[in-house]
């Protein structure tokens, strides 16, 4: 990786930390510790399930919100503050700027997820008093969540490269919701006929499939995950991220910044 990309990524990370993005960890810690303590008193026999389900859902949703709301401003904020011109006046290519921004945001989310993961395991230890072997599957679920973040970061950057922050947020969030229903979309396509079927199938493959990356329920029930799924999801996320990032680079390269 070129040192210019590393610098841009490091600055993006630093900026996110300065913007107090990691403060969400406090809300996360309160949410999880509250759930761990109180659910046992108001429900029956699901303390462990709640900690895993709530913990991983919160990791996912907090991360998605951060990815979207920081991602949409990564390019537009630089244009608004006119700092982009300072950066691009140096020997930095436009694509390096986009890729650096992507890695910076992805790094922020990975660090955020790391601390949240410690919280999830801490809460699990509190309710279960010990770890069991299948608890290692939580790491796989966290890994899939990080893959999900990579896709969302790249999409936010893609929209940010040609649209206003508000519209970018709407587009990115809509794709997140539609992507969560990707399996249903495919089911709908199989029921349709003719042109509708073709269009629905195309849409189902065009939108990111987040449902394949969501294994929270399976992990909560200690159901095994195959290495094939891990490999395929990894490759899928990498390819999809590359598609969105390439799109962002293509648009940004041609964007008139004057």
């Amino acid at each position: 990786m070129s040192p210019r990309i590393v610098h841009i990524a490091a600055n993006t990370f630093r900026e996110a930390v300065r913007d107090r993005v990691l403060y969400n960890l406090i809300a996360f810690a309160l949410l999880l510790s509250g759930a761990a303590i109180f659910v046992g008193q108001i429900s029956i026999d699901i303390e462990r399930l709640v900690v895993i389900n709530l913990g991983l859902t919160a990791v996912s949703l907090f991360g998605v919100v951060i990815a979207i709301f920081i991602g949409i401003g990564l390019v537009s904020k630089e244009i608004e503050k006119r700092t982009l011109y300072t950066v691009l006046s140096r020997p930095v290519r436009r694509w390096e700027f986009i890729v650096g921004k992507f890695f910076g945001l992805a790094g922020t989310l990975v660090v955020n997820t790391f601390f949240m993961a410690i919280g999830v395991f801490g809460a699990l230890l509190y309710v279960a008093h010990k770890f069991s072997k299948p608890d290692a599957l939580i790491l796989v679920a966290l890994y899939f969540i990080v893959l999900e973040f990579l896709i969302i970061c790249s999409l936010a950057l893609l929209f940010s490269s040609f649209s206003s922050p508000l519209l970018s947020a709407v587009f990115a969030f809509s794709l997140f919701v539609i992507g969560s229903f990707a399996d249903d979309l495919r089911g709908f396509a199989s029921l349709a006929h003719g042109m509708t079927r073709w269009l629905a199938t195309a849409a189902a493959y065009l939108v990111p499939n987040f449902s394949a990356l969501n294994v929270i329920s399976a992990v909560a029930h200690q159901q095994p995950l195959t290495s094939q799924l891990i490999l395929n999801n990894t490759l899928y996320a990498l390819f999809y991220t590359t598609v969105a990032l390439s799109g962002a680079v293509l648009i940004f390269e041609r964007r008139n910044l004057k």
Partner: protein, 309 residues
Amino acid sequence: MMNARKRTTVIAATCLAISMAASVLLLRHIDEIRPKATIEDALYINSPQMVKRASVGFNGLMACIYWTRTVQYFGHRHFDRAHTYNELAPLLEITTTLDPNLIPAYEFGASFLAPKPPGGAGEPARAIHLMEYGIEHNPDNWRLYYDLGFVYYTELKDYRNAAEVFERGSKVPNAHPFMKIMAAQMATHAGDFTTARMLWTATYESSRESNIRQNAVEHLRALRVDEDVTNLQALVTEFGEHTGRLPAGMWELVVAEQLRGTPVDPDGNQYQLSADGQVLVQNPDDFPFITRGTPPGYIPAPPKFHTKS
């Protein structure tokens, strides 16, 4: 002298505290004047599929929330000695659609749905439907077969189906050995106290969940009382046939039948004999599941749980 900044801080802090206290007090007052049913009985979305869609893939967490809601709903209605549990079955259906592997929802759900009110919703058919759905999605969990057989046995007295379900469950890998015994027992001695005792003992021994174990203890205590009362009542009848009258009291029955002292219930209280020859328990409220030994017109109090038999 207090400067302007400090004065503003004090006034704002005072306003904040007073307004917060006032809003809490008002909300408490509003809760008191609102009709209770509108707060507790509302199930805004009845369709399990709709709730599943709305959860945007986070079905597991949503199932936990709905299960907690189910427990709270049942708990409130049970505490109020309610005779209707209209939202219980839909809540369980939504919970298990969201997460078909949520085993506690089946195990406890069936015991909420099946018993007659006020102990439960009095809907054994829906309990059976719930358990069959659970078995369909968790075919390797022998406990679900056990719980289903239990509903057939205790609530419907349908021993044939109970035997069939225990038999099915006994074939599941790692099933508890008593499943086979239960299947055989259902076929031959289904209505016996011994069979009932075996079932509740098995429930007690095979569960780690304290609520289930407590419930089993209460049923075992009730079974002993039912059996004692049945046996004593038979002795009273026998006494009547020999002497042509009822015994004057429990002491006369003890002497006539050469019993080893006055019979006592599991709490050590002596059984009593009414003027019309009925054997009665001294404190029926201590045995929430007894079917015999209660005075005429007795209305049971809310169950009290004991930790040991």
